[in-house]
Symmetry: D2
Subunit: 348 residues, 4 copies
């Protein structure tokens, strides 16, 4: 079977990780990436000799309005235009800045190419609001999918995990949000906790993906860079004990159960661990779930998870390629292939 | 009626605010404060000429082991020893470092003086674990009371407020804890969210004070200094709507209902506001409660509060003096007197 | 002698402190302040009952484009328009957002009112770039003065102090800049040190005020809120020893010599100390200078100072009123009056 | 020629990077690493299958007092005792906690094994205080060497670079120190700049390594994790212009000249760049030096460098192995071999 050809629009924090993720799939081909400026990320690719015009993985295409001279000055080879890239692929992964995806969609439609958008775009850009584990089948054969955002993706992994085992009726979440990524200078916060109006969009989005669950939540921004922490208060159709929940979490390939006693003291421990594992960029695809955080109260269960914001949506986005192109038509098969190629679940 | 004579042991973050609070009470007399080193706080008092040996408010007494020569070198007048201070008062407020209070208690017992301990001591140091609004009557006439910690004090204000109006059965809390006070260098956290083993002690303490409520919670430390934020998910005996809850919160003298739209974007806004009010040290006795954070889900209500950690326990500690010495024997009378002298609730 | 009448344009971080500072001068009258929105700072004034239409200190005037309805909704009394305020004063202190001052100047010129601008405006807005200690006489009788920025103001205090005693030929400075004020959410930085292109404008500005000194410098932004720290490497005309420098610093009313041994461990200690002194908002007019930071190398002397960014320019701005209106015509007299009314130097 | 056999004592932040660095040297053999607890770093090695008892690179030895049961519980294979490791090697790299190295030295002496200590130990532990570029020849054939600390190592690279070209007489440095590493929870700082007594030990250490240079400096701790920034004010024997300095810096293999215009806005940009390069753990061996920071004043030159604190001492430590064991006897040959195997300078 021919490999599915994939392009990536926008080589930012998410885009570069999508490109790496696609390149790891044995049944996909990364045709190229598109951007408009020779950012640090692109300079790093170039220093590594990983950009080329003929067969090297990360062929670089320029979007309209890009400053070609700036690339030439740094001797970064350019393979063509954004439209040329779109013309060569089966699916585009669109991780352009929020709002640009909607414009790009016109090009995708014109050229008959499927596309998968990230969480920053409006839901209306897509036919399906998608999560690899929670509603894979809804994405099968569709042309335009939109992924949930990083917090929602990780949150749904855990809620869907309990829901499939026990049935979940209601969740109330508190999102302790990291406010910037490492290397950001334009959106920091200094010595303040900032609160958003409730309910948080993540709770609303969860209800869109899992309409049988009632959800609400409060989000607080915090001045850190290494992962969001979410606390979840969940009510099951029947009483869910700590042991029951833990057993399910431990089976899920994209959930890494950790504990404070082992040394996982907070979000920075998971980043450190991923660095020590030798993962590229210190990334981790799994969410962390603290065993020592799981507590019961009445008929509810409460727990805390860690969301590696830079990389958590990569697996579900790869799932979306599989669903949209019908490479696999069931949740079990689709996610299993993604996991295999990304090396997810090896530690289980 | 003669004024109740009060001494303060330990002139640290809490002790200096207790001293100020007592000095503001028209029916109490601040006899003196005790410490062992000429800290910055004591140097500031001295620069202001507020320490004296005869009649000036902040007479300074030295605990055993204090370095008297260090005080002399800075020309800070010393009025006597810790035991001498205890001999002159009706009640000691003990805000010594955790663990020292238990030792001090031996002196208080020997000299027949009542004492009120802060949250850092073990519960066993006291006859009653006390909260001015939730169990005032339990403290009436008692000799040794222990206050709840800063987070628990503020949390209980809000839960007790709803409980008295509607009956509360269960709460699940997420504490987003500020990790250090302004001016601390010894207990910071840098670019990390640190999680504690669940359930948090604040949830456990709430159940001690309010035994008819089932509570659990998760605590996450964050690298900020201007106030904890707690989210509360509460289940009432009957359905509590946003409007019902808001009406009760707005009536409570020690709860300040604020909103993001007014400009209260987070914990640092409340600190800024207190500075702009001209409050001494930029302190605030009230907890903040965001109107825009109140949301409903099923039969539960969720909301977020801000805890000004340096000053929030001062009113309830003053309440404890009133209860222990039977100045007022009911919750309504005791808290009303405290509020009057501290200027709490004027803005209502 | 009639009091000099002063108005303040822009009741932000600097403007509110200028208003307080003017109100403390026995020979000045604060006529009013102007702003365009009911910010938290104005809400706090109003909660305190400090805004009125007849004789209360902080009469409030609205600039063009202000949303009067928003003030009415919060029952904040408004005394009139910006032009009406300008019409009642001898001098305007302009602390409007950067760039707005240049527009306001047209009004000041039209109405024949003197004005003093803050550091955010371009130098061309003023006749004189002013510093109370370094070039007071240049401002005498002038109509439009511009103050140096917070870092430059504090830096020049220390360099001018050495220069008058020993003669300074050259300085190389490193500015470790706090990136936001307490209560800011729009300009933070998270877990990063950000560097600006050299030389820093503060070094350039110093040369404008003190043209006989050669200066350069590097500025690094840091994620903190309680004061900049500047290290200064200065070369005297003759060798300046630590003892010589210290003796001069200790005599300067606006320099507070502190030490790590006393407990001043960093910028947050100075903020804490000002809070403990009971200073309004926890402000401090003096720069801190660490005795334990003064070191010699060859014919140079090196030391570190702390800049309380919110309040450091207030005294020099008051000096500017005195110079512009010829209340005092010499540096010694002008700064002495300012210091007297602000309570500066009492601790010496 | 037989490979030099190397062991590493202490598999912490530095130790794990030393082990990786040695493993990359074609003419060295990493015999094993020693530690006492199954830390996260060791758990990560084990999850990767990189610990073994027969031939796998990271054979693990336990120091006295280690909890073997804890390793067994996690099924981490143990190859033997610390003494057994020492018995198999030519050189030990000692990165044990500060103070432990002095004790370990007794074992090294007893067993006749050379050792290289990190900066945390006292100078007296070693025969030579060593820097690969500044005094390589002093380490040739010696038994006990101590490396400079991370800041001093990077600082000396830049000063030695200018000194060899132009002669440097004096430096005054300001160290803007990151206070913790990513993943640290025990030594953070929150919203404060903390100053140390001057002169900083780094300036003193520089004079020990480069006795012909007069040096002083001030160190300020900042709440960040991704690299120290140092500003250097240097006086040459003759006037050194920006162009002259830049040309030398650009030739140095362990200095990476960067600019703000390229996107290197601060210390976090260099960490991000290393992650994007795919470097293990996001590490970088080179110091960064901002071209846009180089400025002149009088006969001095000023510039700013970035110190990647976790990895910067690795190359100079490898140099020390080469010097101590006389693999290469000149600075040029020794550093060139280290650079070759670590991939340093490829980008030049």
């Amino acid at each position: 079977m021919a490999k599915i050809k994939v392009g990536v629009a926008g080589y930012g924090t998410i885009g570069q990780r999508l490109a790496d993720g696609v390149a790891m799939q044995g049944d996909m081909e990364l045709v190229g990436v598109a951007d408009m400026m020779p950012t640090l990320s692109i300079q790093a690719l170039n220093e590594n000799g990983m950009i080329g015009a003929n067969g090297v993985k990360y062929n670089l295409y320029l979007v309209e309005g890009a400053d070609k001279a700036a690339f030439d000055k740094k001797r970064i080879p350019v393979a063509g235009t954004f439209e040329e890239l779109v013309g060569k692929v089966d699916v585009m992964l669109d991780s352009a800045p929020a709002g640009v995806g909607a414009k790009n969609k016109e090009i995708y439609k014109k050229m008959g190419v499927k596309a998968i958008f990230q969480g920053g775009e409006k839901n209306s850009v897509a036919d399906v609001f998608f999560h690899g584990y929670a509603n894979y089948e809804k994405g099968v054969g569709q042309s335009y999918l939109k992924l949930t955002s990083c917090n929602t993706t990780g949150l749904i992994r855990s809620v869907d995990c309990l829901d499939r085992a026990f049935g979940i009726e209601r969740v109330a979440i508190t999102i302790i949000r990291r406010v910037a990524d490492p290397g950001d200078y334009h959106r920091g916060l200094t010595n303040a906790l900032q609160i958003d109006k409730a309910p948080s969009h993540q709770a609303v989005d969860l209800m869109t993906i899992m309409p049988h669950v009632d959800a609400t939540g409060i989000l607080v921004h915090t001045p850190v860079t290494h992962g969001h922490i979410i606390t979840v208060v969940a009510k099951g159709k029947k009483k869910v004990t700590k042991e029951m929940a833990l057993a399910e979490f431990q089976k899920h390939p994209r959930i890494r159960v950790v504990s404070i006693d082992e040394g996982f003291k907070g979000n920075a421990s998971l980043f450190k661990y991923a660095r020590d594992l030798g993962n590229r960029r210190g990334d981790m695809y799994e969410i962390g779930l603290w065993e020592d955080s799981i507590v019961e109260t009445g008929d509810e269960i409460m727990y805390a998870i860690n969301i590696p914001q830079e990389s958590v949506t990569i697996p579900e986005t790869i799932d979306a390629i599989r669903a949209a192109t019908e490479m696999q038509t069931t949740r079990e098969e689709g996610t299993a292939e993604t996991n295999k190629y990304l090396g997810i679940g090896k530690f289980k």
